[in-house]
Symmetry: C2
Subunit: 366 residues, 2 copies
Amino acid sequence: MKIETKTEHFTTPLYLESGRIIEPYQIRYETYGEMNEDASNVVLICHALSGSQHAAGLYEGDRKPGWWDGLIGDGKAIDTTKHFVISTNVIGSCFGSTGPMSNNYPSDKPYRLKFPVVTIKDMIKAQKQLLSNLGIYHLKAIVGGSMGGMQALQFAVDYPNFADKIITMAATYATQPWAIAFNKVAMEAIRRDPEFKNGQYARDAFKEKGIDGLAIGRIAGHISYLSPHSMQEKFGLNYVNHDGLFELFGRYEVERYMEYNTDNFSKLFDPLSYLYIVKAINTFNLGRGYDSLYEAILRIKAEVTLISFKSDYLFFPQEMEHIHNMMQRNGQDSIYHPIDSDYGHDAFLVELDKFEAIVKETLEKE
Amino acid sequence: MKIETKTEHFTTPLYLESGRIIEPYQIRYETYGEMNEDASNVVLICHALSGSQHAAGLYEGDRKPGWWDGLIGDGKAIDTTKHFVISTNVIGSCFGSTGPMSNNYPSDKPYRLKFPVVTIKDMIKAQKQLLSNLGIYHLKAIVGGSMGGMQALQFAVDYPNFADKIITMAATYATQPWAIAFNKVAMEAIRRDPEFKNGQYARDAFKEKGIDGLAIGRIAGHISYLSPHSMQEKFGLNYVNHDGLFELFGRYEVERYMEYNTDNFSKLFDPLSYLYIVKAINTFNLGRGYDSLYEAILRIKAEVTLISFKSDYLFFPQEMEHIHNMMQRNGQDSIYHPIDSDYGHDAFLVELDKFEAIVKETLEKE
C-alpha cells in the first residue's frame, strides 16, 4: 500500500458557520493507494474526536498503526488496491491542520482562545476545499465513525451530489444533552486546571507530563465510550493487586484502565484543540442552517449506510435509527445495520469484524 | 412533628472491616416523632453519598428542608405520628459524625488522609452502636436509597433479626465497574486539584469558593444521576442565551445546570469526606465476608421491599431484580417494584409520588 503524508496550504479564506474567517489555513492529510484515471475510486475517511489523519499504516518507530488500520489496506474492507483513500486532520485539531495553537497570521503568536469556534460543517468545508485543490470533484464514498460519522452525514446533507455513498457509524443526527454533559466534564476540568493557564500554557507543555484537566476529562470520555456491560466483561470487580488482604485499599482494574489511558492521552493531545473539537461535537446538528432536520435529511442523494452498536451509551442506536426512519419515509436510499456488540461506543474502533463485511460490500457493489 | 438533633459520643472502639480501629468517635443524628412505650415504632433512615442526617424538617434560616422531607413527616408516607424516625450521619461524612477532618485522638490535628478506609458495613456498625446506646435493639424498618439502600441491605444481611422490614431503592448488591468509573472522575479530579494539597487544605477552605476538583467530579456524578432521556426532557438542546446569533458560542442549559449544581455543592461538602464515602460505595459488596453473595442473601430474615427506577443509569434495575430473584428462589420474603420513571437515579429523591404509597403501605401493614 502506497502511503503519502502531505500538507495543503490555503491562501483563500475559510468562512466559518459562525461568521468568523480563518485565513490562511492548512490541512494535513494522508493518502493510501492510488487514484485511478477518472478519479472515480476516491474514498474519504473522517476521524473522531481523538483521531488524526493517520488512519492506516505503521510509521517507523511507532508502536501502533493508524486508528483504522484493520479496516484500510490492501485486501482489507476499504481495499487500497481498488480505492484511493484520503484521510485528513480536521481543522481545529493538533496534528498538522490549522488549530488554536497555529499562528494567528500575521502575528507569530498562536491563536489560543482567540481561535474561532469551528463546527462539523466547517470541518467538511475545509476538506471540500482540499479535495477541490486536488482536482477531486466527486467521491465514491465517505466513511467515518462517531465525529467522523457526523462529518459523513453533514457531507451528504450539505453537498448532495458530491459522494455516491456514505457510511456512518456510532453517530447521531444532533448531539444530545447526555453527550454534551460528558463533554462538560472535560471542558470544566481543562478550563479549571491551573496548568492550562487560561490557554496561555507553553506550546507543547503538555507533552512532558500531560495536563491533569485533560486526563480527568478523558476519564469521563472513556466511561461514555464503554458500557456498563462491557466494563463488567472487561474488568469485573478485580483488583489490580489481587492480595485479598489489601483489597479494601487497592485499586480496581477499571480504575487502573482509566488512569493508564487518560494519563497517556493527555501527553499526546493539545488541550486547546480538545476544547475546540468537543465544542464542534456539542454543536453538531444536521438540521442547523436548514428549515428543519427533516428538510436537511430530505436533501440527501447519496446511498446512506448507517451502522449503530446496541451497547453504544454515547450516541444511542435510536439516534441512528431516527435518520434511517426519516429517509425511509421519504423513499430515500438508506440501509440501517444495528450491530450486536458489547463494546459500547468504542465498537467502531475495536470490533471491526462485526462490520467490515458491510463496509466492503457497500464500497464494492455497483 | 418533634425534631431533635443530637450527637452521641462513643469511647469504645469502632472495629473496621479493614482491621483498623477508630477510637473515640461520634455520630450525629436527628429524630422525628416520638418513640412508643415498647420501642416498636422505630424506623431508621440511611442517607446517600451527598446526604446527611438532616432528612426532614426545615431549620430556621434554611432555604431547603431535609432531603426526604416530602416523605417523612406527620401524615406523610413515613408518618411521624406513628413512627419514631432516626436519621444518622454516616461515619466518614462531614456533618457532625467522625470523619477525615475530625481530630486524630489524642492529637488535636485532623486525620486527613490518615483516616482509615470505611465501608458500608462499618457505617451500619456505627449506627448499630448508636441504637444500642439509645436502648433500641429492634427496628420496625430501615429505609434508604442509593448508598442508603446499600446500608439497608447490609443491615438485613449482617443483622438478620434486627429489622422487621427493609425498603431499599436505587441500590445494588455490589457496586459495578460502571459506577466505580464515574466515581473515578471525582477521585482523580479531587486528588489532582492543587487546592486539595494532598489533603492538607485548610479546614473549611472549600466553604468560600469550593474546590474545583469536587465540582468537576460532581459533574460526572450528575450525569450518572440523570439519564439520556431525562436530560432531553429537562434541557433539550436549549441554549442559556436564546439569541440565535450567538448560539454557537453559547452555553447549553445542560451545561449551566452542571455548573450551577456542582459549584454550589463544592462549597458545602468536605472533599476528603467525599473521597472516603465514594470509596465506601466503590467497595460495597453484599457478599464480602460471607462465602458468596448467595450465602449472604440467604441470611436475610426481614421482609425486603426493592424499588428500582427503569431509567436509573447508575445502579441498573437488573441489579435490584437480581437480589429479588435470588430471594424468591430461596423462598425468602421479597417484593420487587420496578418504577417507570424518566428521572434516572435521582428519582428516589425527586419522584416521591411514584413510590410513597409503597413505602406507606409497607410500613403500616401488619
